[in-house]
Symmetry: C2
Subunit: 480 residues, 2 copies
């Protein structure tokens, strides 16, 4: 091999293997050291070959892990559109479809793709069981007695410690535990709004947040949202200026379902905005720990010195959904949130909080997260490749930088609810796009759960789902 082109040659060989499916999406590439040894080149040359492949979007780096194949023999998929919701919410009947999605909650086998719920296979069940026995020993009264109103102190100290990863120096006294993140959001909404108020949210937005806000009699202002950068700040500012918003409820990191990730500068700007208009921001940061980049992204709370940001999180997506352990640092609304918790349920389950405290203290949580992040990132690549292979041409796919879900935008003449009716009898569920809004939009979109162990059955389900869409397009809605 001629020396001047050796890195290109290496890149060509690898590209050939990728395009020929010898190396498949999500596969790990040989380490730089292996490339050096196999081709007898310097580390610098090996690195240049990988840079070249990276610039072609064929591979991507993953911190502390190495290089991975990104897509196989197809072009890059298009990004989903920036959403353009109306100013006024028009309540349509999503309830029935949401019920379909939730129907098999707790029965993993029956909803592979519908809920943003981690498969048990990805969770450290045996280690949690061990920690449960430890918790019965370490916790006063083995968790049989009432917990304190504000929650388990050991857990609250760990969450405070953990908050330093996002450069947010909380103290345990800032934190109140809840029964999961949605429960935290619920108490926050009760604390900062009253019936008839308007809450600004992303669009599309997690149906859980739509439901709780609607149940509390709140109006929802859906804001235009970019699949990469999150909510449109100008649109938010306009609404705030008009006095049309009483509170904001945003998922700053790896939003659900879009996967958008608000850059730090945006977070700063949003905090400045809400401070200027003195409007509380409920920040749902349930996905912040599951980043595919190098470090924990910051939160809006990081930039808040006014106490207007109510920062909510939980381990329901990452560790133990059934434990119902969440929390909130509610800033200046702490007292009100604590009162609402007291009024609605007195205190939270004692024992499961202690288990999570153990997990955080011993570093087991971070160990587990390292694996989980890898798995989800690999799955994102595998799903993307499979969707590009099996779904209709023109399907747009989100490329989240973290989180548990992938968002698809199919050609506009498709209604995903119709396909859901056909896929359900085949044992394939998913969340159709229009349940993520209270307006008439996203009918051609859908959300898939990434938190499943990748295997042939998952790929088979994606293939089957893709064929249902293709059949539908061919027979019912041929493109003009």
């Amino acid at each position: 091999m001629k020396k001047g082109f050796i890195y290109k040659r290496i890149a060509e060989i690898l590209e050939h293997q990728i395009l020929g499916n010898t190396l498949q999406a999500g596969d790990k590439l040989p380490s730089l050291r292996t490339i050096c040894r196999e081709y007898g080149v310097s580390q610098n040359t090996a690195l240049k070959a990988y840079y070249l492949l990276e610039s072609k979007m064929l591979i991507e780096t993953r911190p502390q892990s190495g290089y991975y194949v990104r897509y196989s023999n197809k072009h890059l998929p298009g990004k989903p559109s920036v959403s353009q919701p109306l100013d006024v919410a028009s309540f349509t009947g999503q309830e029935e479809i949401v019920a379909t999605v939730y129907e098999h909650l707790g029965e993993e086998s029956k909803h592979p793709f519908a809920l943003a719920e981690p498969s048990l296979a990805l969770l450290p069940v045996a280690k949690l069981n061990k920690a449960l026995v430890l918790a019965t020993r370490s916790l006063h009264g083995s968790g049989v007695a009432y917990d304190k109103m504000e929650g388990n102190e050991r857990l609250r100290r760990q969450i405070a410690r953990w908050s330093y990863a996002m450069e947010c120096s909380l103290s345990h006294e800032d934190i109140i535990t809840t029964s999961g993140c949605l429960n935290a959001v619920s108490y926050c909404l009760m604390s900062v709004t009253k019936k008839g108020d308007t809450v600004a949210m992303e669009s599309p937005v997690s149906f859980g947040m739509l439901q709780i806000a609607s149940a509390l009699g709140l109006k929802i202002l859906e804001l235009p949202t970019d699949p990469d950068f999150g909510v449109d700040i100008n649109a938010l500012e306009k609404a705030l200026k008009k006095g049309a918003v009483n509170a904001c409820l945003l998922i700053s990191n790896f939003s659900n379902p879009l996967g958008s990730y608000m850059p730090d500068e945006h977070k700063k700007d949003i905090v400045k905005l809400i401070q200027r208009y003195n409007i509380p921001l409920i920040e749902n940061d349930i996905n912040g720990d599951v980043y595919f980049g190098t470090s924990r992204p910051k939160s809006c709370k990081t930039f808040d010195d006014s106490g207007l940001v109510l920062w909510c999180g939980s381990v329901s997506k990452t560790l133990a959904p059934g434990y119902r352990v969440g929390w909130v640092a509610a800033g200046r609304f702490k007292e009100a949130v604590q009162r609402n918790k007291l009024y609605h349920t007195i205190s939270t389950t004692s024992i499961t909080q202690e288990v999570i405290a153990h997990f955080l203290e011993t570093g087991r949580y971070e160990n587990h997260l390292k694996k989980l992040r890898q798995t989800l990132h690999t799955n994102l690549l595998k799903y993307t490749a499979a969707i590009m292979e099996y779904f209709p041409t023109g399907t747009r796919i989100s490329n989240p930088k973290g989180g548990f879900v992938i968002w698809l935008e199919l050609p506009p003449n498709i209604d995903t609810r119709i396909i859901l009716k056909r896929s359900l009898p085949l044992g394939i569920n998913f969340a159709p796009g229009n349940i993520f809004t209270l307006q008439s939009q996203f009918h051609n979109c859908l959300r898939l759960n990434l938190a499943l162990p990748w295997n042939e059955s998952i790929e088979g389900n994606l293939r089957l789902l893709g064929s249902l869409f293709n059949d539908y397009i061919k027979k019912v809605a041929p493109s003009p």
Copy 2:
């Protein structure tokens, strides 16, 4: 001894021992067999002696256990008054005092009398820990996965089975689990009322129920309530007739704090009433399993064939407060309650429900309850005797037929809040009467927790508390 009077002679000896404090309130009397052997008399004669003592209110019988000393060398205490609340609620600032009461939630040593919370010493902690390990084995995913929306099926089947004890044939499909009983009440209120509605309750009434109703923006109609027989049905009927009530919220068995027990006939009448006016009744039956009589009292739900009764319960007072396991059979409002549960918290903690299911299945719960009922009944007698001994003359005392609390009515010139401020620094807490109403009443009342292991320290605390009241009367508020 002359044969004709032998039973009287035996009764005299025992009365002498009781009045002389040889036998103390709560002590078990010798069994009939022992009396027969000791005095060489027939069982019939022994029985007649005990009947005589019972007719003098000196002893009382306890099913499957025997005879117990009732009061010592004092007269019977007066009963608390029938309450006479106003028609219109006048919100006064009870919040601060409620916060004082809850301040040390989860710290048993710091609130001996304030909360209706069972002492850990009365709970089967070791057995629950064993059941917890079993539950990690029997439950799919060891409780790490989300529970079903409606709750653990095994638990729901056991609650349904259990409901037969009150002649109420529920099926597991009627039942939704919640995070404790107050959480069930909260979902029920959300399901059957809207902001501004009026809820009829007993008066005095558990402050938890006042708080959740107020937090939901509901008005509260407090009804006159008899310390023995519960809510005044005529007053309720009058209010219903006027259309002034949108829902009822009652504690039918061993109400909190008054301890009233609604007779079956009253329950029937109330169910007929709400059916006639088509008004839902939320029935808080958290205390129904802790009866001092022979069998589980019925509930209003027993007599309901309309689906208007929402029957709520939990094991928070009897078995494991920190587990947060409650339930509701919401009749025709089941769907709405389930939706509210979903919206506010998705599902309840999985593992603790499975533990309680084990406890119910194996009969351990009933075994535990048998002991708990004995302890509480004995404590009621011990408390009553001590209060008669140490508290101001004229203190009226409730005589509940079950439950966890005792209600005192002191002379009318006493404000128990003032005494609370003095007793707190001495480590003695209690729940002052006026937090059980939103009106200006019960300022001379207080509630004490019975669910503590009786010992010298408890008696000492009662003595100290009594002396604070006596001092206050002497120095500040001498009777006219």
